[in-house]
């Protein structure tokens, strides 16, 4: 079992496996698999079982069928969960990278993300989330793996699951991990009220495939230019740039003018200017207790008086940000933002790029 955990969750192992997995076609019984998958995608009734989508050989989450595996330079923090990501595309079709860096996946695509911890359930995932591109738009669905690990079951209403794991800093955690319900999926994946993928953008997307293999998945693979720094790699960028990458990935799916937090007036996309609407000396709008008694989301030079940090450092509903998907404080992410705010000249102008 430990070997399986390593295969599932260790990126190095995944990369080693990739040569065989990333190539399109050649899968045994590929045609019947693809037909079954197309039926599952188009079905008016949502499949109750994950196996209906024929995503894994032997329905073993460690063995995705022909797919494009990928990772992100800066990922969304989800309680230190390891995430295994891949895309399956309909036969003969490829994705396109738009001029603004959005990846346009063809109808019939499924983006698959499994969540697990190396030391929980022997590394077997707890849940697998699907983003399904149907003819009428994207649909986000959460599947929770059954106790016997042989299949996963649709959990439209979400669920809390007891998870125990050890964080990278050695701290043992026992949490009530929140699998989002279908609406909560949409809360984060919403743009002007419709569901869209948020993670895979050209600036942040790292395909686990070589250049030759990539042309089987993308019309214009050369446009995959990951420009956003890895948040935890000092060589990738300044503290400010890495902090902004972190905020983009962890916050901006809601905190943008068309997102779920549009009314806050706090906009944290990689492309947003660092001004009052980025939190610099921005007073609380509807923060309630989330203000922690402080005047500003970001008080330049003064992290202890910046309630943006206060909200990241708390777990209690009504204070914690993000509002869904976090039952653990991301110590390292918070430390990066703290360093960034501490570096800002107190004038309030220093945050500008």
């Amino acid at each position: 079992m430990m070997r399986r955990a390593a295969v599932l969750l260790c990126m190095a192992s995944c990369l080693a496996l990739m040569g065989g997995v990333a190539a399109r076609g050649g899968d045994e019984g590929a045609a019947s698999v693809e037909a079954a998958r197309a039926d599952a995608i188009a079905a008016p009734a949502l499949p109750t079982k994950l196996s209906a989508f024929a995503l894994f050989a032997g329905n073993d989450p460690a063995r995705p069928r022909a797919s494009l595996r990928y990772t992100l330079r800066t990922p969304l923090f989800s309680d230190y969960a390891h995430k295994d990501r891949f895309a399956v595309l309909p036969p003969g079709q490829r994705a396109q990278i738009a001029a603004n860096g959005t990846i346009e996946w063809p109808v019939g695509t499924i983006l698959v993300k499994s969540f697990g911890w190396p030391d929980h359930k022997d590394g077997h995932p707890v849940e697998t989330r699907l983003l399904i591109h149907r003819s009428d738009g994207w649909l986000a669905l959460p599947y929770i793996w059954d106790a016997d690990g042989r299949d996963a079951t649709l959990a439209l209403g979400g669920r809390r699951i007891d998870v125990r794991f050890t964080a990278p800093d050695g701290t043992a955690h026992a949490i009530r991990y929140g699998v989002p319900n279908k609406n909560q999926c949409k809360e984060c994946h919403s743009l002007n009220g419709t569901v869209v993928p948020i993670g895979p953008k050209a600036a942040n997307f790292v395909a686990m495939a070589d250049a030759a293999a990539l042309s089987a998945w993308f019309d214009n693979p050369a446009a995959l230019a990951p420009t956003m720094p890895r948040w935890d790699q000092p060589g990738d960028g300044s503290v400010a740039d890495r902090a902004r990458a972190y905020l983009d990935v962890n916050c901006a799916h809601c905190h943008n003018p068309a997102g779920s937090a549009s009314n806050s007036g706090l906009f944290l996309r990689w492309t947003d200017p660092v001004n009052v609407n980025y939190g610099i000396e921005k007073r609380p709008t509807a923060a309630g207790r989330g203000s922690g008694g402080m005047d500003f989301a970001i008080a330049p030079g003064d992290p202890d008086r910046s309630f943006l940090l206060y909200r990241l450092d708390h777990l209690e509903a009504g204070i914690a940000m993000p509002e869904v998907g976090r039952s653990t404080v991301h110590v390292e992410g918070s430390a990066l933002l703290r360093e960034w705010i501490a570096q800002m000249p107190p004038s309030g102008q220093g945050g500008a790029r």
Binding site: L154, G157, N181, S262, A286
Partner: protein
Amino acid sequence: MAGKMGWAAGAAFGMALVAAGPVEAKTIKVSPGEEGAAERLQEALIVAQPGDVVEMGAGTFTLVDGLSLDVANVTLRGAGAAEGGTVLDFSGQQGAGEGLLVTSDDVLLTDFAVINTRGDGIKSKGADRIVYYKLRVEWTGGPKETNGAYGIYPVESQDVLVDSVLVRGASDAGIYVGQSRNIIVRDSIAMENVAGIEIENSFSADVRDNLVTKNTGGILVFDLPSLPQQGGHSVRVFSNLVLGNMTPNFAPKGNIVASVPTGTGVLVMANRHVEIFDNVIEDHGTANVMIVGYRYEHKDPKYQPLPLQILVRDNLHGRAGFAPAMPGGAELAAAAGGSLPPVLWDGAGDAVVLDKVGALTLGLADLSKPQSAASPAPVDLSGGTVPPALPEIVLPASMEAKVR
């Protein structure tokens, strides 16, 4: 009906029916007494189709996560908002920023109570034509800083009706309507909140026939900078009972309502064209009516910080100004002979006050001047130009039909 799950909720456990084309509207019944009731309630709100009613039985649902509804034209109905009705109890809430979140249009919420949410009570965002009717949102431990911020919280919506609700204990505003258009808040009770009713960054609202008592401030009409919708205007506050809003301010510091002086009846800050008339306003230690500019530093060139075209007429005033709680209030009162008159204006922008009561200006026409620079003086505000009367707010007939 209680204790028995409807067929549709049962279907949610087998095959979830979604988008199968137009079907006959149905009622999905969920009872609080059954195993997994909270999860089933959330599933019902997900599998509901437009036109459906999700009916909650009498009793208490114990919820650890926020509920949400994203299907248009759904009714969420309980067995009553009072004792013996349906209670959504969030005392042990572990996640989400509110108890119930609605993000779809044409929704009716009625006949249930939401208590002790960790964040906001009921929030609706981008939910046009929403109707809040016969609801109770309450923090049962009384006014506390640790209570959630807003009780009823529609935001970014076109056509909003809040009717016959009771909100109690919010550490910000009991009924808060933000960044919306065409709004009615009526026949409701807001008590023991920091702000009873607040209309913020919104266009065209009628706040009428409410009882607003024992809050810190009764009814607030605000506009704030650096938000997607600003330039709040065209708000009528009329025929309300605004009584004894003297609960010491318990808002978490930093929030704008933390600056509301205890004992304020109606407070207008930075709006254009607000009419305050036919209210009974009494027993406010600071002022029955206060009209001020936005006096904080801001960096928003598009923001209009002044109160403009404010009309105060035909209100019945009781006692006021006996314990002014703003900075320097005690000194002001002493200088004015022990207490302040019922109407207080900071001197910025313009207002017309036709009520036959005293008014005091702080003489701070310049918003960059702090309140400590005040040069208070009695003022007669009856001579200004009365703005043209605002029209009554009319909501779509489909909304009014839901409360008839």
